[in-house]
């Protein structure tokens, strides 16, 4: 569904993405892991067209997206830190987003708004919201237009446990509908129930890219966190996978 071909990007002297190649398919739920500054967010932003790659191509359903923009109507994006115009209220933001995306003809899905309790604070301005509430708004917006691809950058960071669960539950439901989901997270434990594939990035490269089942099998661990830890301890297991994925 989404294909990255030889994507490279530098910020100044820092090579953030170094010739990245991969393919994401429908029904996959991919965990994008790696240390801070390894290029996860940049890769996500590249897919979204927010960062323009220095070289390489991104194909969305086989179409190049370099200068296209319509494909983004099929993506729901939840940024790591949602930054919104400070003077707009939640209602304004939602109304504006509906305005922008109404061409898809989808009926907006208000489920998360209600479950996060946002509907009771619609008139609050964005600058008055706590970090967690802002994240809730981001999450609600990402799911609102029933996109076929969900890109979630640290979705549960800053969310309270209940909301966190609500969101996870929703992610799993979307996965079961056969949507492509891309998640980055530092809290590996919460990814256990949903992930089908794990990508570990370091310094702009994929250190490994394997289906979760395979990973568990190789490491013999049941928990994702332990599996990752183990594989990082033993690079020889990780390495072949770097080249093994057919494109």
């Amino acid at each position: 569904m989404i294909e990255l071909k030889n994507i490279s990007k530098r910020f100044g002297r820092l090579q953030v993405l170094d010739n990245v190649n991969t393919t994401f398919r429908e029904g996959e739920c991919i965990a994008l892991l790696g240390p801070n500054g390894c290029g996860k967010t940049t890769m996500i932003k590249t897919i979204l067209g927010m960062v323009v790659p220095d070289s390489g191509q991104i194909l969305f359903n086989g179409q190049k997206v370099n200068n296209d923009w319509k494909y983004r109507s099929q993506i729901g994006y939840m940024p790591q830190i949602g930054r919104y115009p400070e003077n707009m209220t939640i209602a304004h933001i939602i109304e504006m987003m509906k305005d922008i995306r109404k061409e898809g003809g989808v009926v907006p899905d208000d489920e998360l708004i209600k479950r996060f309790g946002l509907d009771t604070m619609m008139d609050k301005k964005m600058r008055t919201l706590s970090g967690g509430t802002t994240q809730k708004v981001s999450a609600a917006l990402a799911f609102m237009f029933k996109p076929s691809v969900l890109i979630l950058d640290e979705p549960t960071a800053g969310l309270d446990p209940v909301s966190s669960e609500t969101l996870k539950e929703r992610i799993i439901r979307e996965k079961d509908k056969g949507k492509l989901i891309l998640i980055t997270s530092h809290i590996l434990s919460e990814l256990d129930d949903m992930v089908t594939k794990v990508i570990y990035m370091n310094e702009g490269n994929f250190l490994f890219e394997r289906p979760l089942a395979e990973l568990k099998e190789i490491t013999g661990e049941e928990k994702l966190s332990r599996a990752v830890a183990k594989i990082m301890g033993n690079k020889s297991i990780g390495r072949p996978s770097n080249q093994m994925q057919p494109v």
């Binding site: 979204l48 960062v51 319509k70 930054r83 919104y84 305005d99 922008i100 061409e103």
Partner: protein
């Protein structure tokens, strides 16, 4: 395009600084017309306002506004929207609201006290200068991600057009004073939107009579309908070119 524009305009019109700017313009215009002994003198005083204050406020406010809307643009860029649409909407929003502020603050008083072709040219030039300096602000924003540097650039550009350019012209005039420079001066004025507006307004005020032959050359060019059209076209170029450059850098910008 339209829907984003709407949000931008609504946001700017609520902005306190724009309200203060409008009130200030209105206050100055009205007091100028009431205090000066004649409406013509009022116009002359307004000229300074238009050539100095309007570009400065427009360039600084627009620069700060664009930097402060980085969240907004970031949000929009991840949405199914063309970057061009987003950028032009921001531009359109700023240009529209600041023009509106100018129209209320200066346009209305001028129409009340001096409704004639001179007044009209004054208003038109002011509107053009407003939009030109919004465009120049966008150019400055395109040059750097750093807000402080961007504002610095914006002020530097304003300073260049308001002051330094003229100083250079004066320098050239004395370097080449043995040559007939009248026609060259007409051309030079096209390289600075402030000069272009100033010359145009002054000729409407019939100041050219003061200046003998040079005045005649200027008058012949800027006084004719073609000349007026060409000089407004020149101002239009001053809007389009910086905007295109800024659009190019915005298209490549990483959020």
């Amino acid at each position: 395009m339209k829907k984003i524009l709407k949000y931008v305009i609504v946001d700017i019109i609520q902005n306190k600084i724009v309200v203060i700017y409008t009130a200030l313009l209105l206050l100055i215009s009205l007091s100028v017309f009431n205090l000066e002994s004649s409406a013509a003198k009022g116009m002359a005083s307004l000229l300074n306002l238009i050539l100095l204050v309007v570009p400065l406020v427009c360039v600084i406010f627009s620069t700060i506004y664009v930097y402060n809307s980085s969240e907004f643009t970031e949000l929009l860029v991840s949405q199914p929207l063309k970057r061009k649409t987003i950028w032009l909407s921001l531009f359109g929003g700023l240009a529209t609201s600041l023009s509106l502020a100018f129209l209320i603050g200066v346009g209305v008083p001028v129409m009340l006290y001096h409704a004639d072709p001179t007044g009209l040219v004054l208003i038109l030039s002011g509107l053009f200068l407003t939009v030109v300096f919004v465009s120049i602000a966008f150019l400055a924003v395109g040059w750097t991600r750093d807000k402080a540097k961007g504002i610095g650039w914006a002020i530097a550009l304003w300073l260049f057009f308001a002051l330094i350019f003229d100083a250079l012209v004066l320098f050239l005039l004395f370097q080449f004073q043995d040559y007939p420079l009248e026609n060259a001066m007409v051309v030079m004025s096209f390289f600075n939107p402030i000069d272009l507006s100033r010359v145009q307004i002054l000729l409407q005020m019939d100041i050219s009579a003061l200046m003998g032959y040079t005045g005649a050359v200027f008058r012949e060019f800027f006084g004719s309908t073609t000349g007026i059209l060409i000089s407004f076209f020149g101002l239009l170029i001053w809007i389009v070119i910086p905007l295109l450059f800024s659009l190019r850098s915005f298209k490549r910008k990483d959020m």
